[in-house]
Structure formats: structure tokens, C-alpha cells
Amino acid sequence: MTTTPPSTSSHPPVDYHDPSARGRLEVKGLTKSFGPQQVLRGVTLSVDPGSTTAIVGPSGSGKTTLLRLIAGFEGADAGSVTLSGRALAGIDAWVPAHHRDVGYVAQDGALFPHLTVGQNIAFGIDASDLAGGRKAVRARVAELLEMVSLDGALAARRPHEISGGQQQRVALARALAREPELMLLDESFSALDAGLRVATRRTVAKVLHDAGITTVLVTHDQAEALSFADQVAVMRDGLLAQVDSPLEVYTRPVDRATAEFLGDAVMLEAWVDGDTATCSLGSVPLAATTLRGRVQLMLRPEQIRVDDDGPIRGVVVDTDYFGPESTVRLELTSSREPGCETSALAREGEIISIRHSNAFIAARGTELRLRIEGEAIAFPATATGAPA
């Protein structure tokens, strides 16, 4: 597990390995069933103080349930939740949601429709805790609005009078008002449209990072998970398939399903002998593996580059143009460089996808020459991952 301590945080240094450090979240062996359906099957996760973890997985994988258990909206069947060394849920321990120092931002923000924006933000503030009563509450609301980059004049508006992105930021300000040790974001950006989503996500990430609040984000959007978090936890069928840094989970996925969930993957049959694999693209360098013999090889499309001197040839079948990039589908042709050994796996006519930034050269029927960059990942040949 990798850790990225908040570099710009003004908070006192914390011992990131101290299990009771403020903001450290420990989840151990959580299970949860709804009737006959087991939604969580023993989830263990550790989140460092002040860091950001994204739980990503297809719908129905149990990620929202996990978040609700951490928030205290529901109780687990077994396992424990510990925050800052304090047991929130577990054997003989149960802290109800309203006594947990946990903030929660729902998918649609869940702003109270009968209150103004300001009243929403002040909802969890106990006026008697602040010296100065109402005036202090108003000042705090203004401060929180500014914190999430919103105009103070919005405080008088009703939730339905502001945009979706503003609603999400108000929901964040409302949750921040109580200075939680942990912030839970449940698909908090999914309801926003593409441009707004990125901008809102950036603002939220910065606010939480500056405040040094441990954050757990649940999302089904792998790009969001990879860009938002210090640590990505890939969830599937009620279990965490992989927990690691974004780079690691993307480039070194533990299995085919994880690989295909996190992005496009070129899957090829291959034969492993030592550090290289032989496949229809020829010999490919391999990340360290104990596998031998017949395997499934995974390459990210961007690892296959167009290069005039490349050893692999393919004819463009079709392209999907996205603007900055195209996905180009190629049919491999067998004629490799003289001297390059052919193997039984080098099947002529196999079709692969690559990414390319120059759409002009990728006209249909053009022959391209390719080479492979970086290492491929080998999975057992019997891997039963669902196609992405």
C-alpha cells in the first residue's frame, strides 16, 4: 500500500502508522447480507490519515453498502469499523451515525428542500457550541461557502435554485461544518455532467486535502477513481479485488476482470518462457510472474505504439475518433521482419485495438507498423474475467 501524505497540509505531523492516529480508518472483515444475498463477503481496508481512497467497482459490487456501514446507516453482520482508534462498529461496539465524526455527501447532495442553502449548511452546527450565537453561525456558514468556492449570496437561495455542481459543493460545506475526521463521498459527482464533474471533483479534492480530512469516495467511474485518489480499492462481488495506488492498479491489475474494469485492455493468448511472452505480436517483455506456459497476456492499448520501424504490421480495419485520440482496430498481418521467429500463436488475421493521436494516418486499409512499449501482464490462461 502506498501513502501520499498531504504535503501542503498545515496540520501537525502525524504518525501514519499509528493505528489510533486521528483520521485513520480501519475496516476489518466486514460482511453484510440482505436476505439470501450476501453483499459484502469480508472486506478489509485501511485508509491513512488525511489520504484519499476511491472504492471503485461495477454496480451491485457492494461499494455503496460498504460506505453505508462506515457511515453507520446500517450495521454489519460481522467485522469491525475503527476510526482514529475508536471502535465504531464491531463486537460489543456500536456508535450510531449521529455520534460518528463522519461526514457524508450523497449522490444528489441530499440537500433539505425545505431549508435555504445557509440553513442547510448550518443544520449540523450546534449554535450553543459557538460563542456569539446566531451571528457566529452566519459567519461560519459564510466561511464554509467560501471554502467550497461559492458566493456567500447563495446562502439565501433554495436548493432547487442552484445548479447541480453548486448543490454538491453545498452538501460538502454542510458536511464540513462539523469538522469530521472522515469524509464519505457516495457517487458524489456522478449526477453532474462531464465538464462540471471534473471541475467539482477538483474543488472538492482540494478542499478536503487542504483540510487534511481522510476521504473515501465510492464511484463506478474508473477514471474518476484513478484521478481522485491516493489509493484505489477495486471492489467486485462483495470483496476488494485489489487495493493499491492508481498507477499500480492500472498497470499491474491482479486479474483480468480488474484489468478490463479499469480501462481498455488488449487481451492476447501467449506462451511464457522466462521473462518474455510470445504472442501474435511477437516477443513481448513481461512483468515479473510465476506463470509458465500458456497464459493470457494483457496490454493497455496505449502500450502499442505506431512506429515506422516497428516489427509488427497491421492493416486498419476501422477507427473510433474521439477528438484528441482515436481507437484504431487493426488486423494483424503475418509478415514480420525477416528473422523474427514465428510461433504457433502468431495467428494471422487477429484483430487488436490501439490508441493513436493522429487520426489522419489511420484511414481504413492503411498498413501500420507497431512496437510495444513497457511490459505486458500475464494472467492464467483459464482466467474467467467477464469482457469489459
Binding site: 444475498q37 450495521g75 450510531p96 451515525a97 433539505f112
Partner: protein, 538 residues
């Protein structure tokens, strides 16, 4: 039953789709909420059992009567005569209500009819006039009114809005792209109406027809006044002569069977097709068809309908008031009746809303076979005529709770049972607008569960609860049958006092009571009309 627009038909319309996603998201935490739902479930079961008292009473009475006696009491000429009357009344009135209701709704909502906003309200206005007041007005106009065709006249004029309101609400929300698609597939305007619009109206039509049918079976005052015999009037006559005779009870069991048959017929004809809009995105306002040469006839037809349904009864109410002069405004009779009506109306409305809350809460927050069976029991109860509920409560209170016989408690309990569906429909749509997520958000902000429930869920449900309570109030103000049976000695309401006077042919003396009922009902009818527009799309 009185004019109960929101009963079974509309009840289901809001029942599907408005609830937050069921399933995993709706389980309680270990310590936080587990006790509350269980207590709620127990309360809801008790309410459901209580609501089955009338049906249980009818079954128990039939069993107690014994097979041979029951057969001899049911299979006799008198029952055949009543059955024929009832079937003929329904066979003529229900289709007429459908034609007038759907036709009116279509003219108002989908054509270039001028003054359509006025007509929209005018066609709902007959609901503010209780059927027995309508009957009183018509008997004043044509004293010789009697028999089947008079029954049809009064029924259609009183009850066509029960079809019109849901039909208008559906039409105004119908996705115009469906009709545009049909047109682009080569269908002419009439074909579009028949093959696309009419099928979309199916829920509104079957639900409205069911309501009209149930009202026809339950109405007492309107038919008694024109001497048209139905099961309800016959039961009342039996009750007044023999109090708790086997003959009256057997008539009641036949009546209940008819009501249940109507429920089954409605469920059958409702079909299983999907009527909700598929897909997402904004919806344009439906287009309007130019009326052209038909504009004047359309205006005249609507004018005639409204004059017959509202103008005639109101004209004669006002005429009697004027003719009666100052002496008919006897404060010693009028004031107690008004006050007691208001007290019973408010007490009944509050009690009904309180009783409806646990059922609505369970139905929205924890949908399951359990809550669906609770709703089924409620659905059956909502079809029970006031006369049966009245008889059941009279008998049960004498038998098991003599201390309560002829007390306000029993009467309010009967109101609760009769009008529970109205409160339920409102509360359900209100609760659907207060999703569990908001309550959780409050808890995550440090508010304890009970506080979160009060500050968020109750607060957000309050307007809907008030709306439901207002509709119950409207129903109680105009309730006659059960009140006649159950009101404590000396208690008079506007409806019972009106009935006592008009039964003595003191039409002038009855007029102020009729006027007061209409005045009290008018704002509530407007509310009902508004609410139906909101509920239709759900």
C-alpha cells in the same frame, strides 16, 4: 362512501414508482432504527385488522344466519328486484360518466377550447355538491322525479367528475411525443386518439369507473329522496324497522359481494401494460387540436352539462334560502349542527391522518409482501359502503364495547375507516418526497434519529398530511349514511339535519344546511382538483 376521488383508483397510481428504491438501501442499523419499524408494523397490523371489521361482520352475520335462512333471504323476489335496479343503474350510469368525463377532459386539456381554465374547474365543481343535495335540487325542480331514469340523471350529474378529474390529469401529462410518433406512423387524429390516447387513459378510466360504481352502490340519500330502491336504501329501511334483522344483514352481504366483484372487475380490466413514460429528459407541453366549426357546439355542450350538474341544484338551494326568509336561519339548530360538523370533521381528519401515517410510512420506506397485504386489506375496506360500516360498528359496539355504543369514539372510528384511503394517498406521495437519504444526511450531521425524523421527514410530509386531512374533512362534512346510523343521541351534523328537514319535506328549512355544506366543500374540492394534477404523473 361519499365522493372519494382518491380511493382505490388513484391509490395505486401513486403506489408505484414514487417509493425510493427498495432493497438493500432500506435496512435499519443495529441500534438505530430496528425497534421503530417493528412497533410500526405492529400498529399497522392492528389498523389493518381493525379495517377488516366491516367485512368480518358481514361474514360472521351470514354464517350466524345459517345456510337455509340465508338462502331463503337472498334468493327472493325483493333481492332480484334490487339487483336488477342496481345493475341497470350501473349499466347506464357508468358508461355515461365515462363518456362525459373523458370527453370533457379531452375538450379541456387537448383542444383549442376557449376558456379552458374555467371549464377545467367548472367540470370538477359538481364534487362540491353532495349527491343528496343534488337530488334535493332536482326534486325541487321536478317534483315527480322517481325511479331508474331519475337515479341515472342524479348519478351521472353527481359522479362524472370522478372520471373527469383523473382523465384530465392524465391527459395534461401525456407525453406528446407518443402522439407525434403515431402521427408520423401515418395515423389520423381520430386514430391517434383511439389507438394511443385512449389506451393511456385506461388507468384513469377503470379507476374512475370503479369509483362511480362504488358510489352508486353506497349512496343512500340521493336515491332515497327520489324513491329509487337500491341495496343501500333497502338496508336502511330494514334497519329502521327491525334494527338488526337477518334480512337487512343478508342484503348487506349481497351488497358487499357486489362491491368486491367491482374491485375484481377493475383489477382485471386494468391490464398489465406499462403506462409510465419510458426514457428520461424533459417533456414538452401536449399540443392542442383546433376545434374549428365544432367550437360553438362544444361550448354549448359543456355549458349544458355544468348548468344541469351545478346550476340546477344551486339555483334551487338559493331559491329555497330566499323563499325561506330569515326564519329558516334558526341559530339554535344551525349553530350546533355547524359546530358539531366542524368538530367531527377536524377530529376525524386528525385521527385518520394519524392512523394512516404508519401504513403510509411502511408502504413507502419498507415495501414488501407484508406491506402489500396491508394495502390489500385497506383496498378492500375502501370499497365498503358507509351503510355496511355503520351496521358493523353499531353491532360490534353493542356486542363487545357497550360502553362505546352511540359515542363520538365509534363515529370517529367509522370515519377513519371510511376515509383512510384519502389520507393514505396524500401521505404516500408526501413521504416519497422525503426520501430516507435526507434523514440519513441529518444523522450524519449529528442529529439523533428521532430528531432527524421530526426535523426532516415529518417536516417535509406536513403539507401532504394537511392536504390529506383536508380531503378527509371534506368527506366527513358530506357523510350522511354512517352518521345517521352512528351519531350519538342529540348529535346533529349539517348532513343529518339537512336530511331530517328534507325528509319532512321542509325544503326551505333544509336549504341553509345544503348551502353551508357546499360552501365548506368548495375549497376542499379545489384542493382535490389540484392534488390530482400532481399525483397523476407518478
Amino acid at each position: 362512501m361519499t365522493t372519494d376521488l382518491t380511493a382505490p383508483g388513484a391509490h395505486r397510481a401513486t403506489g408505484t414508482g414514487t417509493a425510493p428504491t427498495p432493497g438493500p438501501g432500506t435496512r435499519p442499523g443495529p441500534a438505530s432504527g430496528r425497534r421503530r419499524p417493528h412497533a410500526l408494523a405492529v400498529i399497522a397490523v392492528l389498523i389493518a385488522l381493525f379495517s377488516l371489521v366491516p367485512l368480518g361482520y358481514v361474514i360472521a352475520m351470514t354464517v350466524a344466519t345459517g345456510w337455509d335462512t340465508a338462502v331463503s333471504l337472498i334468493f327472493r323476489a325483493r333481492v332480484g328486484e334490487l339487483l336488477l335496479n342496481t345493475i341497470l343503474l350501473m349499466a347506464v350510469s357508468v358508461p355515461l360518466c365515462l363518456v362525459l368525463g373523458v370527453g370533457g377532459a379531452w375538450l379541456v386539456e387537448r383542444t383549442s377550447l376557449r376558456g379552458n381554465r374555467f371549464w377545467a374547474l367548472a367540470l370538477a365543481a359538481p364534487l362540491a355538491i353532495p349527491a343528496f343535495v343534488n337530488s334535493y335540487g332536482w326534486v325541487s325542480a321536478v317534483p315527480s322525479l322517481a325511479g331508474l331514469w331519475s337515479g341515472v340523471l342524479i348519478s351521472v350529474l353527481s359522479y362524472f367528475p370522478l372520471v373527469y378529474i383523473p382523465a384530465a390529469a392524465t391527459l395534461s401529462r401525456l407525453d406528446p411525443s407518443l402522439e407525434e410518433s403515431a402521427a408520423s406512423l401515418g395515423l389520423g387524429p381520430w386514430q391517434v386518439f383511439r389507438r394511443v390516447v385512449l389506451p393511456q387513459l385506461r388507468l384513469a378510466m377503470t379507476g374512475g369507473a370503479l369509483l362511480v360504481g362504488l358510489h352508486l352502490l353506497a349512496e343512500y340519500g340521493a336515491f332515497a329522496m327520489i324513491r329509487f330502491d337500491t341495496f343501500t336504501t333497502a338496508i336502511m329501511v330494514q334497519y329502521q324497522s327491525t334494527f338488526n334483522g337477518a334480512a337487512g344483514n343478508m342484503l348487506a352481504s349481497v351488497l358487499v359481494v357486489l362491491c368486491l366483484l367491482l374491485l375484481v372487475a377493475e383489477v382485471r380490466s386494468r391490464g398489465t401494460a406499462r403506462y409510465a413514460r419510458v426514457g428520461s429528459g424533459g417533456q414538452a407541453a401536449p399540443g392542442r387540436m383546433p376545434l374549428g366549426r365544432l367550437h360553438v357546439p362544444a361550448q354549448l355542450a359543456l355549458l349544458l352539462l355544468v348548468v344541469l350538474a351545478v346550476g340546477v341544484p344551486m339555483w334551487f338551494v338559493v331559491r329555497w334560502v330566499v323563499l325561506g326568509g330569515s326564519e329558516i336561519w334558526a341559530p339554535d339548530e344551525l349553530v350546533p349542527a355547524l359546530l358539531q360538523t366542524l368538530v367531527y370533521g377536524v377530529a376525524g381528519a386528525v385521527a385518520t391522518t394519524l392512523v394512516a401515517f404508519p401504513m403510509a410510512f411502511l408502504a413507502v420506506r419498507r415495501p414488501s409482501w407484508f406491506t402489500r397485504s396491508l394495502e390489500l386489506s385497506n383496498y378492500i375496506t375502501s370499497s365498503m359502503p358507509g351503510i355496511v360500516v355503520g351496521l358493523a360498528f353499531v353491532t360490534v359496539s353493542i356486542r363487545f364495547l357497550p360502553a362505546f355504543y352511540q359515542t363520538a369514539v365509534v363515529l370517529v372510528a367509522a370515519y377513519v375507516l371510511l376515509f383512510l384511503p384519502r389520507a393514505l394517498v396524500s401521505l404516500r406521495s408526501g413521504l416519497a418526497q422525503a426520501p430516507r437519504e435526507l434523514e440519513e444526511a441529518a444523522q450524519a450531521l449529528g442529529v439523533r434519529p428521532l430528531g432527524a425524523f421530526v426535523r426532516v421527514t415529518l417536516r417535509l410530509t406536513a403539507p401532504a398530511a394537511a392536504g390529506g386531512a383536508a380531503l378527509v374533512f371534506l368527506a366527513i362534512v358530506n357523510e350522511l349514511t354512517a352518521t345517521l346510523l352512528l351519531a350519538p343521541n342529540g348529535t346533529t351534523t349539517l348532513a343529518t339535519e339537512f336530511w331530517a328537514k328534507s325528509s319532512e319535506i321542509d325544503y326551505a328549512g333544509a336549504a341553509p344546511y345544503a348551502l353551508l355544506m357546499v360552501v365548506l366543500s368548495a375549497p376542499m374540492t379545489y384542493l382535490l382538483f389540484q392534488q390530482s394534477k400532481k399525483a397523476a404523473g407518478q
